[in-house]
Subunit: 372 residues, 2 copies
């Protein structure tokens, strides 16, 4: 049963960032699903991945499109909106309603472009905290998300221990590895190699469509698995009985990547690509700590970590690092590696096991809280 949703907006006067710069007059785009109970104890914050947005569930009244986690969030689903009040906001630095490099800086009337300060996952979470406070929620029942959303979930549990009862990082990591940084850096270099990027000053002209498309193509390969690409495309040719012996499209996989790359430009800002990938690369929960375990010293949350067998971009060992660190501080943590063929994308796709696992975990967190 689809339900209609509208994106809402809220403004905040200022935010002091990790880099030392203060951003003024910020906007946050967010959506909510379900109803906040009287004691405000049933709120769950959904944290989106790299190219996500505030529209996580339901049908958008603006676009008519379902949310990016519509299979997971809704009445009777894994995150049950008959039971929980669910919030999702676009991240700081994004391009889908929340302040980012494509936003007009009201101080000078110009879009930030590359004058936008470099942000971190912690900065994103600071702005989310302001949103949650503004909604009158003192403690979130849970924070959850996949990939970069999982990083934010971890950051929430560490930065605001009193405000998080449970955290569910999915297909995520406590710190970006060299390989993850490398893939992001290739994407950034592809964007910046496009002359239309023009040092980020392209809003009055053509966006760097070719560079961003190449970056997105690399991304798509890393989000799928070798096996899922074989199942979906194999060596099938596109609109041809034989090789073309030219450089137009031969294989279906080429056609898919080109299409996905070129479409991405319509919904994503190239400068946001740079800033958000940089925030992911900077993410290291252990930074400045004696160990990753030490990062969890003050957390009061319970954890559920989930990874997927075929996810080679955020492999299971990274989730196990989180689990080890939490166990090292005797934190209550459950872990499951789910069998799934779809690579890193697995967390986004309909997955009954994931839904049941999250749903069961949330109920046990509620019971814990009721006993306290």
């Amino acid at each position: 049963m689809p339900f209609n949703v509208e994106t809402q907006y809220v403004r905040f006067p200022s935010l002091l960032l990790d880099c030392g710069i203060t951003l003024f007059d910020l906007q946050v785009a967010y959506e909510t699903y379900g109803t906040l109970n009287e004691r405000a104890t049933n709120a769950i914050l959904i944290l989106h991945a790299f190219s996500g947005d505030a529209h996580a569930a339901g049908m958008s009244l603006e676009t008519g499109q379902p949310g990016w986690w519509a299979s997971m969030i809704g009445p009777g689903l894994g995150i049950d909106t008959d039971r929980y009040f669910v919030i999702c906001s676009n991240v700081l630095g994004g391009c889908r309603g929340t302040t980012g490099p494509s936003t007009v800086n009201r101080q000078n009337g110009e879009r930030y472009g590359m004058n936008f300060p470099v942000i971190t996952i912690a900065d994103m979470v600071r702005l989310q905290k302001m949103l949650i406070d503004s909604l009158g929620i003192r403690k979130l029942l849970a924070v959850t998300g996949g990939s970069m959303g999982g990083m934010q979930a971890l950051q929430w549990a560490v930065a605001y221990p009193e405000a998080v009862a449970a955290a569910i990082p999915i297909a995520s990591t406590a710190r970006h590895s060299a390989q993850q940084i490398a893939f992001n850096e290739v994407g950034r270099q592809a964007v910046m190699a496009d002359p239309d990027w023009n040092n980020g000053d392209y809003y009055d002209g053509k966006p760097p469509a070719r560079g961003l498309a190449v970056a997105r193509m690399v991304g798509h390969i890393t989000y799928m698995s070798d096996a899922s690409m074989r199942d979906k495309f194999g060596r099938r040719l596109r609109d041809k009985d034989a090789f073309g012996f030219d450089f137009s499209v031969d294989f279906e996989v080429e056609s898919y990547l080109r299409y996905r790359g070129s479409q991405f430009v319509n919904r994503f800002d190239a400068n946001s690509y740079l800033y958000i990938t940089k925030a992911m690369d900077y993410f290291d929960l252990a930074q400045g700590k004696a160990s990753l375990a030490a990062a969890f010293d003050s957390t009061q949350a319970r954890f559920l970590a989930i990874s997927f067998t075929s996810d080679w971009l955020y492999p299971t060992y990274q989730s196990l690092e989180i689990v080890s660190a939490l166990r090292g501080r005797n934190v209550n943590v459950a872990f499951c590696e789910l069998r799934a063929n779809y690579g890193h994308d697995s967390f986004l796709l309909e997955n009954r096991q994931q839904a049941e696992m999250v749903s069961g975990f949330l109920k046990s967190v509620e019971e814990d809280l009721a006993r306290q």
Copy 2:
């Protein structure tokens, strides 16, 4: 003990390609190491990978550089030049002395550029056969190479069964997978997205340096393993004590990739990048056959297939596919997956196990031949 070598050149009048076009007046760059015996039975043909060249061993008198497989080929090494006559040539479509898109077409005095016909692995092997014939060698003791070199080795054994006593495909495949095609396609799109590419007509101006650099960066990530990147770079910062909060280089891995990408432009032609990756993507030994096994119906060679545990670009299962197909035709095939941390690059790096395995296999092939 380094030995000096010089690249040699030979010309051939014409070559009919798989696409139906005939190339005229071709040049092949090649090197040889060791001495051909009287009966011409000790010749081994080395087949290079994507960005390799004819300079496989020894020290180049032109450049003072060691060959790309210097750890494997030389007096007393895995491929012992005291015992064998070793030949390596630059592939058709290359840019290191053999006819390719950057070559001047003598018919009109202009460089081929994108008028160069699309070539295949089989075309590369046809030209190599002409070279081997010109050297007076009727049967090669062995053909071997890693990655695209392994594809050529397989093609040799299938296309010229009487001319190959043994084939050693290393870290290779009988057909490019969707993921392998996808990574190549991203590289091609990166090159072609660079305005300096100019539809391949850049030889009188600037080469598409930025696009080719991005393509090479993607390549380098796929050649390494997650673990080897962690060991080599981890999250170490470059020339900094803290994050720069800008888009210059923060991490060592970024610096490495940018350097390798920018250097590649000095030694490789962007159009060759397009043509050679396309040839790899077209490669499918089973094409037009009832099965991969059927492709080996006429082969008379013995095989040794080698893969590496950490190679995720040409994973072990692809070597096992070759082994299964060969066993399906009762062909003598040995297989070993070697433990190595360096990903796809493992075959290029000094590897005692690989050297011993190849050396032992070559001796047993010699003994077989002596008994015949």
